[in-house]
Symmetry: C2
Subunit: 162 residues, 2 copies
Amino acid sequence: MNQTTNAAVITPEQLLEHWQGHRKLTRKTIEAFPDDKLFTYSIGGMRPFSELVMEFIDMTGPGITGIQSGEWKKFGEDSRPKPATKAALLARWDEVTELLNSTWPNIKPERFQERELAFGQWDGTVYWSVLYFIDNEIHHRGQGFVYLRSLGIEPPPFWNRQ
Amino acid sequence: MNQTTNAAVITPEQLLEHWQGHRKLTRKTIEAFPDDKLFTYSIGGMRPFSELVMEFIDMTGPGITGIQSGEWKKFGEDSRPKPATKAALLARWDEVTELLNSTWPNIKPERFQERELAFGQWDGTVYWSVLYFIDNEIHHRGQGFVYLRSLGIEPPPFWNRQ
């Protein structure tokens, strides 16, 4: 757990770029949905893609604030009404993009190996929480790809993070 | 790109544990499929889950060998016949689990920041390739979760990597 070397597996800057690259792909996935299907379409009783996206937003925005400051709100504790249109959802998305970019440089490098109770309830090392936030987005976005395919819509290419 | 600090974001050991944790979840996802559906079931013209799993196997096995040695085969260049049963697919999976565990300690820590033409065709930093292999598995496994849900089968919990 405590091993460190001068050779970084990944630097904080690279991890931010990796995360924002995935977030660009998610944004393109949101855009690919027809406006109504984004909020209504489902397979196998799963949540519509808009609700999965709200989970990413609720995890990333308050999550990065908690990681930087050590102060956590309860998960999903955003008093604002949920976006009801694609444009409003994308605007909320872009707010989080800015927040992530502006908060990240204020995270001390040693923070990634500290233990933290994320959202006051999930115990883990900070790097683990960051990877969980990213992986959860990849996981559910992959499900959004199936929704798109089953609607006859080509999803954006997975490898393109620009 | 070249910034290193004594505080590691994530150590090589942690990255292996993270990867193998995801691979445990994928193994449970394979097990959750009925034998026939694993090789035949599809939504929206997508590949059956068995073919997605073969992609993970072809990426992880030869991928980790290439990362460690710098010697690459062409992607998918495995002359053995593809597994045709769930048991055979799981056996192939377990081979890769062992290979990953035995190869990983032989990867020099500085290797993660070296540039490499993965599989002779994908140019990138080694950490990027490793994350790509992991993310590709998360992405397509999420699609397998939709297949399971639409079959009325509860997938294994996403957060459980034991």
